[in-house]
Symmetry: C2
Subunit: 275 residues, 2 copies
């Protein structure tokens, strides 16, 4: 039994998809969310910059005394996941493996799509994880670079005049080639799930990498005896590197509950932390 | 006479609109460009974060021995322009005043539009500058938050499937209300000028804030006797905080010449600089 909070981090709002699922699965756990809103997006940046930011983010969560780190960012999981796992010194849950497992289980035709940021697609981590589970799976992966800016800017309504053509533009090749399962390999993308589902049709199963990571986290914490005995009323605290943006507003829309306890984190302090 | 380079900075690619104009106006000057590609975009962030980044950016240029700093970023000019002007200790040229002057001169109907990032529009600096020049001008200003991500991701073709609907969505109110002059208050926006002009029609004069800043810079340097005696063959050097992205590719398309001398700047070093 361990009453310390579970830490969840992402470049911005995307990790809330994992937080929401964790809150539903483990309502008694205290959850601490860190969003690097002062430096979002990550997925269009190079490996070196992503790795540097990721280490600072994880170090911040550890400095807050978390018992586990959920890396709810597809880009960080793909580019710096292994490095973070070695360095955190506590249970570390990333999004690639759990999402690949869910997709391999869900597909019937063996044709699985992966959409993610440019950096994630470049890393090849999702296809590698899928092939390790089932070498017969046909994988269609592609980058959707504008999805994160769209989400961060609140363009998530099913009839949004920019998000709808963006979804159509990016996903047309997937619809043409035919898939029955699609991994949303960036945790921001589930905020666009209604638009994605509408374009691809109900026959395609969407796998949320944030949700799968939350499920994996529950399993790992249970296995290691690290769950709290508290069954309800867990607290939620949010830390962001830029409190001047639209984090709270979009977060409330997405989480469906008030986002009250949002504290700013000074990027200068963050940079002095190291794993 | 002064042979030191002129420094130009922006959050990312946008400042190249000023650099291109400077190179045309002052072909003998050495130009040093700094793009904070590791932390772009700025315009969706809060004031505190923008000011912090801006001070580091200007300090970097000064550390390279420039004789003048051209702040080729509408967001920084609006949010932190005065602060930087006081602190740089050398000629400092921002984009708001020169663009407002050009627009006030260009308009015949007195109906001037301003498009810029969310932070720039929030600051009210462009309307204030226009009103100071001519209180009778009617100003229609609005934020176009996705334009910077579109440009940084290379969505600048006249038939781009996402940029075209984005331009239509943002600019429809301006077209409806009628303007004859439009300030592109973010230096990224001239890269979308063909799309903007096509939507608004040839009757609308587009004012590029980067180009106007370059013209102003030439005037100030001449006035202070700081121009080089060299009439051609000036060098261009580029510094970026993330060399892993698409900077060189998009920069070459936009500048119409090879972008060779691109050096990475470590963000950690940048943060240790201060004005």
């Amino acid at each position: 039994m361990d009453t310390r909070p579970i830490g969840v981090f992402d470049s911005g709002l995307g990790g809330l998809t994992a937080l929401r699922e964790l809150a539903a699965l483990l309502p008694g756990e205290d959850l601490l969310y860190f969003g690097d809103t002062g430096r979002v997006p990550y997925g269009s940046r190079g490996e070196e910059v992503i790795t540097r930011y990721a280490q600072e983010d994880a170090a911040f969560l550890l400095s807050q005394g978390v018992k586990a780190v959920v890396c709810a960012c597809g880009t960080v999981s793909s580019v710096a996941g292994e490095r973070l796992r070695q360095k955190t010194g506590c249970p570390f849950i990333e999004v690639v493996t759990p999402a690949a497992q869910a997709a391999a289980k869900a597909t019937r035709t063996g044709r699985v799509g992966v959409i993610a940021t440019a950096a994630t697609i470049r890393s090849g981590k999702f296809p590698a994880a899928l092939r390790a589970l089932d070498p017969a799976i046909t994988i269609l992966d592609l980058a959707c670079p504008l999805f994160v800016p769209l989400v961060e800017d609140g363009h998530i309504a099913p009839d949004d005049p920019i998000a709808v053509p963006a979804v159509e533009h990016y996903l047309a090749p997937l619809r043409k080639k035919g898939i029955d399962t699609l991994i949303l390999g960036c945790t921001h993308y589930p905020l666009l799930a209604p638009l994605i589902q509408a374009f691809l049709g109900e026959g395609v199963t969407l796998v949320s990498s944030g949700r799968e990571a939350a499920r994996a986290a529950k399993g790992i914490l249970a296995e290691q005896g690290l769950l709290s005995s508290q069954k309800a009323g867990g607290s939620r605290r949010y830390f962001v590197t830029d409190a001047g943006g639209s984090f709270s507003t979009v977060a409330e829309v997405f989480l469906g509950e008030p986002v009250r306890d949002v504290a700013p984190v000074n990027i200068g302090d963050l940079e002095r932390l190291a794993l």
